[in-house]
Structures are given as C-alpha cells and as structure tokens.
C-alpha cells in the first residue's frame, strides 16, 4: 500500500485516486491442486447447491407441513410432545435420577455438563494432536453423548403412534365454526333462559350442544317449554312472541 507523501485522493475523500489492478491472486504456488474460489469453485458449489435444493423441494412437496387443531388450553388429555430435536431432553426428564427431587440433574446439571463441555471442547481437549486416535477421551465422550442422544430420541419417539396422533388432531376448517350474533335479541333471550346449561357459545355444558341439532323452530319452542329427556319442563319464562324469537334464533345458528 502506498504510504507517506505524494498520495492523491478522490476529491476530499480518503479514497486513493490510484487504481489498483483487479487481477485474482495467483494460486499456482499453493500446495496441491489449490483452486480459486471465484469463479471456478463457486460454479461447482452452485451445482451441488442446486441438487440439494431440488431434493429439499421434492421432500417439501411430498410432505406438506403438518398443522393440528387450533390451540385449546382446556383440551385435557392432550399429550404434549416437543419437536424431534428436543425429544432427548424431554425423555431424560422421565428417568428417576433426573426428575422429582432430582429435577436439577435433569434440567441443569446433565445438559449443562454436556453443552458446557461442547462449548469448552477446545480448552478441555487442548493437546496438539488432531487425529481421533490421538485424543481418545474427547472422542470417547463425544461418542457417548451422541449414542445417548440417539438412544433417548429413539426411546421417546418409538412408542408414539404418529399417524394416530395426526388423525386425532386434524385441523377443523374455520368455515365449519358457526358465527353467533351475540348482539341479537334472540341471543339475549338465550342468555336468560338457556345459557346456564347450554353454554355461552351454544357448545353445551350441563346440557347438550345446540349446534348441529335437527329440530324445527316449533319443535324447539315445545322443548323449551316442556323439556326433553333429562331437561325439566318450564325452563323458558317469557311471552309466546319471545319464545318464537328464541326458537328462530337457534334455528338460524344451525342453518349456517
């Protein structure tokens, strides 16, 4: 680089006005068959990358990304499972020495030793030799960690019936959810007379759901007055006109 007196700059900038030639370095004196990255090697890399991308896209097309039902915090009995690359940590916590009173072993000490060892590997394995047989302890620890991780992942994944899980949790299209107009007169009547048993969203609580029922407005009006099955009579209190509005409202929700 040119230094000292006599330097010329572009305008008032610090860019030198002397142009250097733009010729790639000469790699012919490097040992072995060294190649320039640009453009020789990049072309080959580009080809390998394209093959990889085609393979990846084919896999993506063959297996659409899964999506389960919308999250429902009240869904009791749902067995949670993390993504596959966290299964080994999840499985570890099922062992007696890593759960309950020894939970700290499972969440801090064992993963901490493993990942801490990984992070500090260059300082723990600081001998000069690079070949695996020159550093048996480091290689042995890594093989042990690798085998345990694969074993734990296998143990965790092998007893899961993945197809059954996917079938039981198929997404429900939003169009099949009914819209309930909670501002309507009919809903106000529903709120006063039916909601305590049939739920805020007509999904049922003590009584059955009122969505997906196959009754006419007149039949609903009769049931509201006289009851059905374990539903006692006299649940509805109001005028006949209001009864008609309530029945029409319930029918209108079911027509969606």
């Amino acid at each position: 680089m040119h230094k000292g007196k006599g330097m010329k700059f572009v305008g008032d900038s610090r860019i030198s006005s002397e142009r250097k030639s733009n010729i790639p370095k000469d790699y012919s004196e490097y040992p072995g068959r060294t190649e320039a990255f640009w453009p020789n090697f990049l072309l080959k890399e580009w080809l390998a990358g394209s093959v990889f991308l085609v393979g990846f896209l084919s896999m993506t097309l063959a297996h659409p990304a899964p999506l389960e039902k919308m999250a429902d915090p009240t869904a009791a009995g749902y067995i949670p499972l993390p993504d596959w690359y966290f299964l080994f940590l999840y499985e570890l916590l099922k062992y007696d020495f890593a759960s309950g009173p020894y939970i700290l072993f499972g969440i801090i000490i064992i993963p901490g030793l493993a990942f801490g060892g990984l992070l500090l590997a260059p300082f723990l394995d600081n001998g000069p030799g690079r070949r695996p047989h020159q550093r048996p302890i480091a290689v042995g620890m890594m093989l042990l960690a690798l085998t345990s991780t694969i074993w734990l992942t296998y143990k965790s994944a092998s007893h899961v019936d993945w197809e059954q899980r996917a079938d039981a949790n198929k997404p429900v299209p939003p169009s099949e959810e009914v819209q309930i107009d909670k501002e309507s007169e009919g809903y106000a009547l529903y709120e006063n007379n039916c909601m305590s048993c049939h739920g805020e969203d007509m999904g049922g609580t003590a009584g059955p759901a009122l969505i997906g029922i196959d009754y006419s407005a007149d039949e609903i009006a009769t049931i509201a007055k006289e009851g059905i099955g374990s539903m006692p009579p006299g649940q509805f209190s109001g005028s006949d006109e209001e009864l008609q509005k309530l029945a029409d409202f319930i029918v209108s929700v079911n027509e969606q």
Binding site: S17, A36, L53
Partner: protein
C-alpha cells in the same frame, strides 16, 4: 458498460479490496470434492448456511400472511396452508427447513469435532459455532409455538414449566418468555414472535458474521 459502472463505483468507494476480501480466496485440494470425493464432509457448513438462507427468505414471506395474535394466528396459518397460492410450499420449506438445518448443523459440528479442527488457533471460532447452535435451537423452540395449534401450545407450556424449575431465576425466565406468571396466552405468543423474528435472528446474523470473518482470516484447517 458493466466495467464502466464498476469503475465509476470503484473510483468513489474503492470497492476492489472489499470484493477481494469477500470472493477472492483459495480452495485447498483437501476440501475439494472434485479431487477427493470424501471431502464432501466439508460441504456441511456451507449447506447449513444455505438452509439458513432458505429459512430467512421463507420466513420473510410467511410474515406477509401470519398474524401474531391468539385469535388469528392459527386461522392465518390455515389460510396460508389451504388458500394462498404456493403458501403450502413456502410454509413447508420453513417447517422442514428447521429440521434440515439442525441435521446439517449436527453433521458440520461432528465433522469439525472428529477432525479436531477446533484446536489452536481456531478455539474462538468453535465457541462462536456452539453459540450459533444454541441460537438455532432457540429459533426452533420459539418457532414451534407460532402456528398456535395444540401441539405448539402444549409443548410450549411444558418447555416453560421446565424453565420455571431452574433455581433462583426460574420464575423470572418464565415470566420473561411468556409475559405472565401464570398464563400461556396472548402475551406469550407476542413474545415468542418477537424473539423468533427479531431478537434471535439479530444474534444469528452477528454470530454468522463473526464465524465467516474468522474462517476467512484463519483459513480452513489443514488436512489431518
């Protein structure tokens, strides 16, 4: 014409040295699969980066449809999956890419480990690499919640309960991540979205930059 544009830019900002630093370096024989096929193990790092680029691009397109609130998150993903042209492919790339990046990262780590390539003078780059590993696991954990389906919700709840068991700072970690001491809900989704889309990628870019600069300064490790 192109040469003139290049010269015009070069005269003003002296681009040639920058260009040299980025593109002009040698590929030694022992890492070149064209000469030794077994050198394909040296591709894992580059492929990891390639998949990370796929993740960034597909993720950018996903945010054009995704809505990070509990009422609409699942619906927006469902809409993207079923209605949007090629939405299924873009989401598929992001979903499967998350797994492929972990696999490639694992293979790259094992290559470097078993070759002892982290030994002096490359200790610092190994540490940066392991931090990258943690960052990408974090991206996997936070991204899992975003579709807001049952799988996402319950796995995150378990993850947060595990974080809560950490001594002394457990409750604080859980509150920091989920936005509330008790509820896994609207706040949690917003936090995970912010972490997944802004915080962790920022860390990822910084670490990747350091990783690559160190490789260029030190050169790739020699043959065994």
């Amino acid at each position: 014409m192109l040469q003139k544009i290049y010269d015009w830019i070069d005269e003003r900002i002296d681009i040639t040295p920058i260009w040299r630093d980025i593109a002009d370096h040698e590929v030694p024989e022992h890492v070149n699969p064209a000469h030794h096929f077994s050198a394909f193990v040296y591709c894992f790092g580059g492929l990891t980066f390639f998949v990370v680029v796929i993740q960034i691009l597909s993720g950018m397109f996903l945010t054009m449809y995704y809505v990070p609130d509990i009422e609409n998150a699942w619906r927006s993903v469902y809409y993207l999956q079923t209605e949007v042209a090629h939405g299924q492919i873009v989401r598929g790339m992001h979903h499967w890419g998350a797994s492929v990046v972990i696999v490639m990262l694992l293979l790259h780590t094992l290559r470097v480990f078993f070759q002892g390539a982290y030994k002096k003078p490359r200790e610092l780059n190994w540490i940066v690499g392991v931090l990258l590993f943690f960052t990408i696991l974090g991206l996997g954990f936070t991204g899992y919640l975003l579709p807001w389906d049952n799988k996402a919700y319950f796995a995150t709840e378990v993850g947060l309960n595990i974080a809560q068991d950490v001594p002394i700072i457990g409750d604080e970690i859980k509150t920091l991540l989920s936005g509330d001491e008790e509820i896994v809900g609207a706040q949690t989704l917003a936090r995970f979205f912010a972490i997944h889309v802004f915080f962790l990628p920022a860390g990822l870019f910084a670490l990747l930059g350091v990783h690559f600069i160190l490789i260029r300064r030190q050169g790739i490790s020699g043959p065994l």
